[in-house]
């Protein structure tokens, strides 16, 4: 485990923002941290970076305990804030050079590493100052600086939240690639982003982790489900199929049916024909995580 969070509680005055959080992040994975705005995601990330003191509990990064202030554990971490702010008068190259000096990178490694990262994030051909950068370019530079010292853990706070679809896709692709050399822990309230690249997901709600699991396990709970839409109302179709043994549920005028194997799928289609129910559309259950999140929030 690259990160171990045990019993972390954080209060601001009388308001408890994080309550007894336990979380383990395995190495070389992409760990999605989902939750609504204000759920406490940024607070937990800042605690992991030693920027905020804990009220109780411990956080360990790569075996090093996180302490408030100048924590030695930060040498293993690359951090991308939600709105990365850079010195506008620098170019991307100059900014990364400053970061390299701060991290104490050996002189001979600086140039090739900076070139490599600028190529990775698509800023190698940009020579203008950061003041001219778009939001997406700043996010990409943010990832480059975070990966500079080959961290064991890359923490990204809502890296895609304010980007257009093209920008989001670029960032997700970079994070996916970053997994080859590091562990990515990223927060988001865009569930589809987490679904797209995460191996594990945890959800924070009102300061508590309300679920955490391998994404495949979560998806498995839904993979046998199919969504049907008919020319008649879903409830009417369900009533007509009431005598059968299929597990059915109506949601938004759609019938969700659990069909675990080919035989049951064929049997269900035969039953529809028998009952004279005309199919309009049918697809496997998707948006699983989003649905799960909505269920939890309800």
């Amino acid at each position: 485990m690259v990160v171990q969070i045990e019993g972390v509680t954080k209060r601001f005055g009388s308001r408890t923002v994080l309550q007894n959080i336990d979380l383990d992040i395995p190495s070389n994975s992409v760990y999605g941290f989902v939750g609504a705005n204000g759920a406490g995601k940024t607070t937990l990330m800042k605690c992991m970076l030693g920027l905020l003191p804990l009220n109780s509990g411990t956080i360990t990064v790569a075996g090093e305990r996180v302490t408030f202030g100048e924590t030695p554990s930060n040498q293993y971490i690359g951090y991308l804030p939600d709105v990365p702010e850079f010195y506008p008068f620098y170019t991307a190259h100059q900014y990364l050079e400053l970061c390299a000096v701060i991290t104490g990178m050996p002189e001979k490694d600086k140039k090739p590493r900076i070139e490599e990262l600028l190529t990775l994030v698509g800023l190698a051909d940009t020579s203008s100052s950061i003041s001219t950068y778009s939001r997406g370019m700043k996010q990409r530079l943010g990832i480059a600086q975070a990966l500079l010292n080959r961290p064991k853990l890359l923490i990204c706070d809502e890296p895609t939240s304010a980007l257009d679809p093209a920008g989001r896709a670029q960032i997700l692709a970079i994070l996916q690639k970053a997994k080859e050399e590091t562990t990515v822990f990223f927060s988001t309230h865009i569930i589809s982003d987490a679904e797209q690249i995460c191996d594990h997901v945890a959800m924070l709600h009102e300061g508590k982790i309300i679920f955490r699991d391998d994404l495949r396990t979560l998806q498995r709970q839904f993979q046998d489900q199919f969504v049907f839409r008919f020319t008649i109302a879903a409830q009417q179709a369900k009533n007509q199929l009431q005598h059968t043994a299929f597990q059915m549920e109506c949601r938004d005028n759609e019938l969700i049916v659990r069909l675990s194997d080919d035989a049951s799928r064929l049997a269900f289609m035969t039953e529809l024909t028998k009952q004279g129910i005309i199919l309009e559309s049918m697809h496997p259950q998707t948006r699983q995580l989003e649905q799960l999140v909505l269920e939890v929030l309800e």
Partner: protein
């Protein structure tokens, strides 16, 4: 040390890019020229402004008049503008969040404070030196300066007083993390020093003495030994404020 130098380079580059260097050189260069010029032109102006027929006996301007202008203009105009220019050293970074990335990369918090203070100190040295040298050269062109006492020491009093104000401003700016915090704290400090100076004491300790004593030093009315206490005290208090700033910033929630 590499980290300290690297961050100092960034601060220097930023100050140049944001025209701080140009502004400081222009303002203090202008003040340097203004001092002897004002001394030279004042009697002529007075004569022209008086009603016709009025007879006034003004002594001829001297090097002392030029330096008196220096100790009026540089602290009252130059130092005020200088403090305003450097009053957002920390708050700008804290408000924008530009330091977060560097701090999580291992930049020491003490480095941030000491670098910012050292850069401001370099600028203050540059500014005062520029104004001093220009005033000296321009005054020497018109008048003999050999009768003036403790010329360099008088300037060093102003220099030390400026260092004290810089340290107070940096502390206020870091503590309140707002652009007005530093200015407000400095303003309150000066008011407090003025208030304290009202009460008569046998041996003056008030750093404000450094602000008022240069004229007396130039005429030889006061000797450097008479103001060792406010001189040393100002350096000590500036050091304390710098330590307080570092210590506060180390515990600051970001």
């Amino acid at each position: 040390m590499n980290q300290w130098i690297g961050f100092f380079k960034k601060e220097w580059f930023e100050s140049v890019k944001t025209y701080k260097l140009l502004l400081v050189l222009c303002i203090f260069g202008f003040l340097g020229v203004l001092n002897p010029f004002t001394a030279k032109i004042t009697p002529v102006l007075m004569e022209n402004l008086m009603p016709e027929g009025t007879v006034i006996n003004l002594p001829d301007p001297s090097a002392l008049d030029s330096w008196l202008q220096f100790y009026k203009n540089v602290p009252q105009l130059g130092l005020v503008v200088f403090i305003l220019l450097f009053s957002t050293m920390m708050s700008k970074e804290l408000e924008k969040g530009t330091l977060i990335i560097l701090l999580t990369k291992g930049l020491r918090r003490s480095t941030v404070i000491t670098v910012k203070f050292c850069l401001a100190l370099c600028y203050w040295t540059l500014a005062l030196t520029a104004a001093f040298l220009i005033t000296y050269a321009y005054t020497a062109f018109y008048w003999d300066q050999s009768n003036l006492h403790h010329l360099l020491f008088a300037a060093s009093c102003l220099y030390v007083f400026g260092i004290l104000l810089l340290a107070v401003t940096l502390w206020g700016n870091t503590f309140f993390a707002s652009s007005y915090g530093g200015i407000l704290v400095t303003f309150i400090t000066i008011i407090a020093l003025f208030t304290a100076s009202i009460f008569p004491v046998d041996v003056s300790w008030n750093p404000l003495e450094l602000f008022t004593v240069p004229a007396k030093l130039l005429t030889g009315e006061t000797a450097p030994a008479d103001i060792w206490l406010p001189y040393i005290l100002s350096i000590g208090v500036a050091g304390c404020f710098l330590w307080l700033t570092v210590s506060h910033f180390k515990k600051k929630l970001l």
